[in-house]
């Protein structure tokens, strides 16, 4: 009967979203008067989950699951849900979890609500608030099946500490053959990803050319941020496609989004407006982005950004 949560890890370490979905699962379990069971794949140390309300951990260690495979991972979660008799399954909205969710939903005959931003407003009928129209609206959705899957938007619910001591047991689901096999992964391992970043520093055509990105990378480094770019910049080949954020690029839901030399076309805003605090630096005071921003600096990026880097470095030293 417990609430099951899939807590994602990378290289054995839990992602921040894992702790967030655990926090969410605990809130649902409190509403339903039950406990939280987490399922993890190849995680090194699961005790951390106890701090976020997890009572029991099903720990899967399996070398065939070293690389993410949506079908296989969906199968792991499905078998865990069946073993636990879970009526609610909570997942994140990372690219991996979004990939496996519909496969899992069909496997469990479960209704699935994605992009959920708050704890259920009601448990009977089970009602959640989710975003729609690319963050331009919310939709109250009921899930009417016996088993329910909730996909919690990254950075929407936050981390809630709930001291519990999580017991851990090994779990060995049977993994069927998958028809999709990963041949190679091309991923920068030393950089924080746009999906996981607390802060994203993004730049647009106002930077005039790819040779000017040094200061963007430096600003990102000072802030521990991921770098991103607007669509024209990736179309021009100044930056890799994987940095393109916006409606047809990657979605951003960071705490802080800094847009430099980006005018703020509606397609760009659609992809980033789930971010909590938006800062715009632009020479043009009429740039539409200022209407969507929380803080703005009207000025030349080539003057503002280097000064900002120096001042942030000093701030970091003062607050260290």
């Amino acid at each position: 009967m417990s609430v099951l949560v899939y807590t994602e890890s990378e290289n054995g370490k839990f992602k921040k979203t894992a702790l967030e979905v655990a926090s969410y699962a605990k809130a649902v379990a409190n509403q339903l008067g039950t406990t939280v069971t987490a399922v993890t794949v190849n995680a090194a140390n699961t005790s951390e989950l106890g701090n976020y309300g997890v009572d029991k951990v099903l720990n899967v260690s399996n070398s065939t699951l070293e690389k993410f495979n949506a079908k296989s991972y969906a199968e792991v979660i499905k078998q865990a849900a069946e073993q636990e008799g879970a009526k609610v399954v909570v997942i994140s909205q990372s690219a991996d979890s979004k990939y496996l969710a519909p496969i899992l939903a069909v496997g469990l005959h479960a209704g699935y609500a994605p992009n959920v931003v708050e704890a259920p407003s009601n448990t009977a009928p089970f009602t959640v608030k989710r975003t729609a129209f690319t963050n331009k609206a919310f939709n109250m959705t009921t899930i009417n099946t016996e088993v329910k899957i909730v996909g919690v938007s990254n950075n929407a619910f936050g981390l809630v500490e709930n001291s519990a001591s999580a017991t851990s047991e090994d779990f060995s689901p049977s993994i069927p053959e998958s028809g999709v096999s990963v041949q190679s992964v091309d991923k920068a391992t030393d950089k924080v990803t746009i999906a996981d970043a607390e802060t994203v520093v993004s730049a647009g055509r106002g930077l005039k050319g790819p040779e000017n990105w040094g200061m963007i990378e430096e600003l990102a480094e000072v802030l521990g941020a991921a770098t991103a770019c607007s669509k024209p910049v990736s179309d021009l080949g100044w930056r890799p496609h994987s940095e393109h954020v916006g409606q047809t690029g990657k979605p951003v839901a960071s705490n802080l989004y800094i847009a430099i030399g980006i005018s703020g076309a509606i397609q760009h805003l659609a992809g980033i407006n789930a971010s909590k605090v938006k800062v715009v630096i632009n020479t043009d005071p009429e740039a539409p982005f200022f209407k969507a921003a929380d803080y703005g600096v009207v000025g030349d990026a080539f003057e503002v950004v280097p000064t900002l880097i120096e001042k942030l470095k000093a701030f970091k030293v003062a607050n260290a």
């Binding site: 096999s181 920068a188 496609h241 705490n255 703005g296």
Partner: protein, 248 residues
């Protein structure tokens, strides 16, 4: 190779989002509908398979008669035939189930959908469809090649990309990268004329069940005005981000 491209009929990105009937329905008044951008990249890649590998390309939508202009546009871009499953799309599972029947009846080898629609952003129909018909599934797909029944795809992942191999039958969740924006085709007059003569078949729905229901829409609280900071006073910006917004 028989390809089916799933076409979502969605409000253009620049549309004003309003609701009607006690905030229970999307207000379509004055809204321009388009082919979902993620689907259009997939449709354009399908055209490549048609022209270079002799594939046939059909398009499908689950929806009412109001979606037909969007299907006609897909025909004008170059699809061979269109199918409309005549029912109101209510949730992802119901749509996936209706599509599963179309795929099975039509014997399609490859289904190309968008990674998500820009209205509900659920990103669930392609994956559910693949499970219902027992096909392989690759989403966030930015490159796709097919040889015989073998497929090689590149997909975006958090922080990079990966190359996968798989086989038909296959469902793709496509996005920008399958083709580039500059490859997208604007229907020309000849295409539009020909599209009028191409078959648009209406099939009755199977009345697939729903699993979720939309109760009410809400608009976000209006955003406050931007706080402007003088470019010569960036200490103030840092102060605001630290003490007011508490994000650094």
């Amino acid at each position: 190779m028989k390809i089916l491209v799933c076409i979502s009929h969605v409000p253009d990105t620049t549309s004003k989002i309003n609701f009607t009937d006690g905030d229970s329905k999307f207000d379509t008044n004055g809204v321009q509908f388009v082919i979902n951008p993620n689907d259009e990249f997939g449709l354009t890649r399908a055209m490549w398979f048609k022209e270079k590998q002799g594939a046939s390309v059909d398009v499908v939508n689950v929806g009412g008669v109001e979606t037909e202009p969007t299907l006609r546009k897909a025909l004008a871009i170059g699809a061979d035939a269109a199918i409309r499953v005549n029912t109101e799309a209510k949730d992802g599972f119901q749509v996936a189930k209706e599509l599963a029947k179309v795929v099975q009846d039509g014997g399609y080898d490859l289904v190309i959908a968008g990674r998500e629609s820009i209205d509900y952003n659920g990103a669930m129909v392609p994956g559910m469809l693949s499970e219902l018909i027992g096909a392989n599934f690759v989403t966030n797909c930015i490159s796709l090649d097919i040889e015989g029944t073998n497929a090689t795809a590149i997909r975006e992942i958090d922080g990079g990309k990966e190359t996968v191999t798989t086989s038909l039958p296959l469902v793709i969740g496509g996005q920008k990268g399958l083709v580039e924006e500059s490859d997208l085709r604007i229907p020309n007059m000849r295409g539009i004329m020909m599209a009028r003569k191409k078959p648009l078949t209406i099939v009755e729905a199977t009345d697939a069940e729903t699993e979720t229901a939309s109760i009410e829409f809400k608009k976000p609280a209006p955003k406050g005005a931007v706080t402007l900071v003088d470019a010569g006073n960036l200490d103030e910006l840092i102060n605001l981000l630290h003490n007011e917004a508490k994000v650094i």
